[in-house]
Amino acid sequence: MVPFEYYVTLSLILFVIGLAGVLFRRNIIILLASLEIIMNALIVLFAAISFHAKDISGYLIVFFLIGMAAAEAGVGLSLAVLLYKKLKKVYVDEINFYRG
């Protein structure tokens, strides 16, 4: 049986990689994919807690998280398509539409 610390460390590594993707990339598609990586870190953490505590709640929260990730991807990608159709840009540092 794998210790619980290993799952927490894996979750932390995935979270940091996703956060670096959100902070350092400029392409809005890869930015949304990095948000998916952050969601996957949460999924690993909740499933590991549920497995080690013999409690069903973590699995159910994982189920809700997968639904939330689908909703987030739908809204984010429709906004990305809207931005591209309006401004012809997908790089977040070139989008300075609201700068006065």
Binding site: V8, T9, L23, A33, S57, L82
Partner: protein
């Protein structure tokens, strides 16, 4: 070193490496395909954590719906490769120092955090000898978590309306 540990180490290495490749690849199609590799490994990790239903949901929803949506948008808006490789956040070295501090704090207190593990009080316990994981999930999903389940359904409905509304209004303007 038993088989569980070997499988976990392989899955952890594959997930970390493929997500790292996903955020450094310049072509967005390659990035989305590396995220797909990460999600398939994570589905198997959920299987080793004892939930075969979540494996199926992960593959169907993530790999079947979300990643296909990503690929669809990437092909639709016809991205070019990213030529410039400019650092987006200036003065990131300060942030890196703060990150190292928090990493030290994390590993220093990891033993304390996980010592709480056996003290987790199981509010909704399950027994795999009484039925499969799917049976227990269904039993609690439709009794304790019924309201949250309905809320997720409403959120997905609002997402469908929002996507249709956003892209339809643009057509009237342009």
């Amino acid at each position: 070193m038993n088989w569980n540990m070997l499988i976990f180490l392989y899955l952890a290495f594959a997930m970390s490496f493929s997500s790292f490749l996903a955020i450094i690849s310049r072509n967005p199609v390659h990035a989305v395909l590396w995220v797909l590799v990460m999600i398939l490994h994570q589905a198997f990790l959920l299987y080793t954590l004892g939930s075969e239903f979540l494996t199926a949901v992960q593959i169907i929803v993530y790999a079947g719906a979300v990643l296909v949506l990503f690929l669809f948008v990437v092909y639709m808006i016809n991205l070019r490769k990213e030529e410039r490789w400019k650092v987006f956040v200036r003065r990131s070295s300060y942030g890196f120092i703060i990150f190292l501090f928090f990493l030290y704090f994390f590993f220093k207190n990891l033993a304390f955090l996980t010592a709480l593990g056996p003290a987790f009080k199981a509010q909704l316990p399950y027994d795999l000898s009484q039925g499969s994981n799917l049976l227990w999930m269904a039993r609690y999903l439709y009794s304790h978590y019924l309201f949250q389940f309905e809320v997720i359904g409403c959120i997905l409905l609002v997402v469908i309306f929002g996507a249709v509304f956003l892209l339809r209004k643009l057509k009237e303007v342009g």
